[in-house]
């Protein structure tokens, strides 16, 4: 009886020797197949943007092949890079992003250290709470926030709406929770004995953070920095809602408001502006990619 059951359960397929490498080869083929589809899918828009950015307005509106440039021109680039308005948007974006990254790291690194290492009442709940705040979309928040700033303006006379620095308060609500979460995960991968050794060596909490944790968790800090930069560079809704004067606009909103006039779309300059706007994050990613991946995975696997 028992033997009969075993016979039924035995594999019907014959064992093929060397099938490991064959399986692997197929796995690789499939991965390449999907990677190519993936790459085409995600590279098509930037390529289209690049092609369009090299066309004159006349060529864009002409019914020619949209995937080919017949009369390449740099007039869109020249037009934007000599426009004080565009440079102003770029400058505003840069200032806002640099400030936001700094503010974010100054808050989230110590916060993550406290939440992951200083055991205090409710620290675990608080850590989860920090992450939950990240799950609330800004589309839900912008109206109440607008109302809050309006009320604050009425009561205190401090006018924040339509000032670029209002973004320094708004963006961290998006970046701080996620960066804190990344850093909690990264700090959790640092063995407990390391801070105990530091404590016994005579280090205060602050010294443990600055002289042990920050250097050891540097890849994680880079990852969090890149994330914060990307979010604040690409953020669209908050600047659209909270800033309106052209000298206060950041690039994503600036391009839309200044290059779309009524129903006239200056497509060539819009594409050029978007490409130029994508350059800084691209450059940062290219240089710090390895750190970014190391930072995210360390948090993911051990946190």
């Amino acid at each position: 009886m028992t033997t009969a059951t075993i016979d039924k359960a035995a594999p019907t397929r014959k064992v093929k020797y060397g099938s490991m490498s064959r399986d692997r080869a197929w796995a690789l083929r499939w991965s390449y197949f999907f990677l190519v589809i993936f790459a085409i899918f995600f590279l098509t828009p930037p390529i289209y943007m690049f092609i369009t950015s090299l066309k004159s307005s006349a060529e864009i509106s002409a019914a020619t092949n949209p995937w080919w440039v017949f009369h390449p021109t740099l007039e869109n680039y020249a037009g934007l890079l000599t426009s004080n308005q565009f440079l102003r948007f770029f400058w505003n974006s840069a200032i806002v992003s640099i400030f936001v990254v700094t503010i974010t790291m100054l808050i989230s690194v110590p916060a993550a250290f406290a939440l992951s290492r200083m055991r205090f009442w409710g620290s675990a709940t608080l850590a989860t709470g920090v992450f939950l705040t990240y799950l609330i979309p800004e589309t839900l928040l912008f109206i109440p926030l607008f109302k809050m700033f309006a009320v604050i303006g009425d009561w205190t006379g401090i006018q924040l709406i339509n000032k670029w620095y209002v973004l320094l308060i708004l963006y961290p609500t998006l970046t701080v929770p996620f960066c804190t979460w990344i850093m909690i995960g990264y700090f959790a991968s640092i063995p407990k004995e390391l801070d105990e050794a530091a404590v016994i060596d005579g280090a205060s909490w602050l010294q443990t953070l600055t002289r042990i944790f920050i250097p050891v968790a540097f890849p994680g800090i880079i990852a969090a920095t890149i994330f914060a930069f990307t979010v604040s560079w690409a953020q669209f809704l908050y600047p659209l809602v909270f800033t309106t004067s052209t000298d206060q606009l950041v690039m994503p909103v600036g391009i839309i408001t200044s290059l779309i006039k009524g129903d006239v779309f200056n497509w060539g300059q819009i594409m050029t502006g978007a490409l130029l706007g994508a350059a800084p994050p691209l450059i940062i990613y290219a240089f710090l990619m390895d750190y970014y991946i190391a930072g995210l995975t360390a948090g993911a696997t051990k946190g």
């Binding site: 063995p191 004995e193 390391l194 105990e196 050794a197 530091a198 404590v199 016994i200 060596d201 005579g202 280090a203 205060s204 010294q207 002289r211 042990i212 250097p215 050891v216 540097f218």
Partner: protein
């Protein structure tokens, strides 16, 4: 340098008592090893001395001062961790000097202390390397160096050799002993390895279930264990325990193991055990080295009997033999030339001058 005193120290985690009222006096310069199975509270005790764990009750004194609420950095202690806990971004020299730099010692002093410790530990050529370029043994030396340069009142070691392979462990054990002979700092050392405990300690503290079972020199613990736990924990292969009871035969006190086997006790032992009720369930404790092959002219107190061996383990300088007595597996050590073979009969002798008699219920050595 200082003495360390624990008075009724208790550690409670919610409902669980990890350490249940420990009293311990560690003299200046002494090397004390806390040993016991995992979960016995030895590491918790060490961490309470270090100040890494709060104590729930009792007092801890270092150099006569109660340090219950003193933070670790002000206790003037140094600790060596099982996983070394070296700062990965610092060189060996920076690792060793971190504590001194925090305390803003003059540069020249730091350098001389680091150099001296590096020389003592034979890591002079490694001082500019990062921890990840070092082997396990070298990392452990650096961790010790970090403790030595601080010149603290007390060294605390938390299973420092557990991550090393067997050969290196023996070597580092000797290294630790040498360092202690040189610096003479009061040392508390935690391990689960009874060999480490025996070889390193001036005094060994055997812990079990959050309590101290016995404190004594390695020899005292080995030859005069107080409880069955200590008797079985210290020594390898472990002490044998065979169910037995006392019996008066022909006017002499005997210990009866089986219907067939009863040994007369040597006079000193007979006098000591005379008062024990004959009906009590007892255990005869015998170390393997006291069960050997029978000799033609036995010394007084050595009694012979015949048995059939289950298994033999030739070790080279001796052969370990295993046989069964009253359902208990018994281990003995015989001369390799005694002719011990698996499944074969052999005439053995037990040295009752070195026997232990235990109460089977309480586990107390009588």
């Amino acid at each position: 340098m200082a003495d360390v005193t624990l008075r009724k120290v208790v550690k409670r985690y919610d409902e669980v008592e990890a350490v249940r009222g420990i009293d311990l006096d560690i003299a200046d310069h002494e090397f004390v090893v806390l040993v016991g199975p995992s979960g016995c509270g030895k590491s918790t005790t060490l961490r309470m001395i270090a100040g890494l764990e709060d104590i729930s009750d009792g007092d801890i004194m270092i150099g006569g001062d109660v340090v219950n609420d003193v933070p670790p950095k002000d206790r003037d202690i140094a600790m060596v961790f099982q996983n070394y806990a070296l700062y990965p971004h610092m060189t060996v020299a920076e690792n060793m000097s971190f504590g001194l730099r925090l305390k803003r010692y003059p540069k020249a002093e730091i350098k001389s202390r680091v150099d001296e410790a590096a020389r003592m530990l034979d890591i002079v050529e490694l001082v500019d390397r990062k921890p990840k370029q070092l082997s396990g043994g070298q990392r452990q030396r650096v961790a010790m160096g970090r403790a030595i340069v601080r010149n603290p009142k007390v060294f605390l070691f938390d299973e420092p050799l557990s991550n090393l392979d067997a050969k290196l462990r023996v070597q580092m054990r000797i290294e630790i002993k040498k360092v202690h002979q040189k610096v003479r700092t009061t040392t508390v050392y935690v391990t689960h390895d009874q060999v480490e405990a025996m070889t390193l300690a001036d005094r060994v503290v055997v812990m079990n279930h959050g309590r101290i079972e016995q404190i004594g020199t390695p020899n005292e613990l080995y030859h005069k264990p107080a409880t069955k736990f200590v008797a079985s924990f210290i020594g390898s292969p472990a002490m044998n325990f065979v169910p037995c009871r006392l019996e008066d035969l022909a006017g002499k006190l005997h210990v009866r193991l089986t219907d067939r086997i009863a040994f007369p006790l040597p006079p000193a032992r007979a006098a000591r055990y005379q008062g024990i009720p004959r009906a009590d369930k007892l255990l005869l404790g015998l170390r393997p080295e006291h069960i050997t092959e029978a000799k033609p002219h036995p010394e007084p107190g050595v009694e012979a009997f015949q048995t059939v061996l289950d298994v033999t383990e030739p070790m080279g300088m001796e052969t370990l033999i295993y046989f069964t007595l009253e359902g208990a597996q018994v281990c003995g050590r015989v001369n390799p030339n005694a002719g011990a073979q698996d499944g074969a009969p052999l005439r053995l002798a037990v040295d009752l001058n070195n026997m232990h008699l235990l109460n089977e219920v309480t586990g107390v050595v009588l």
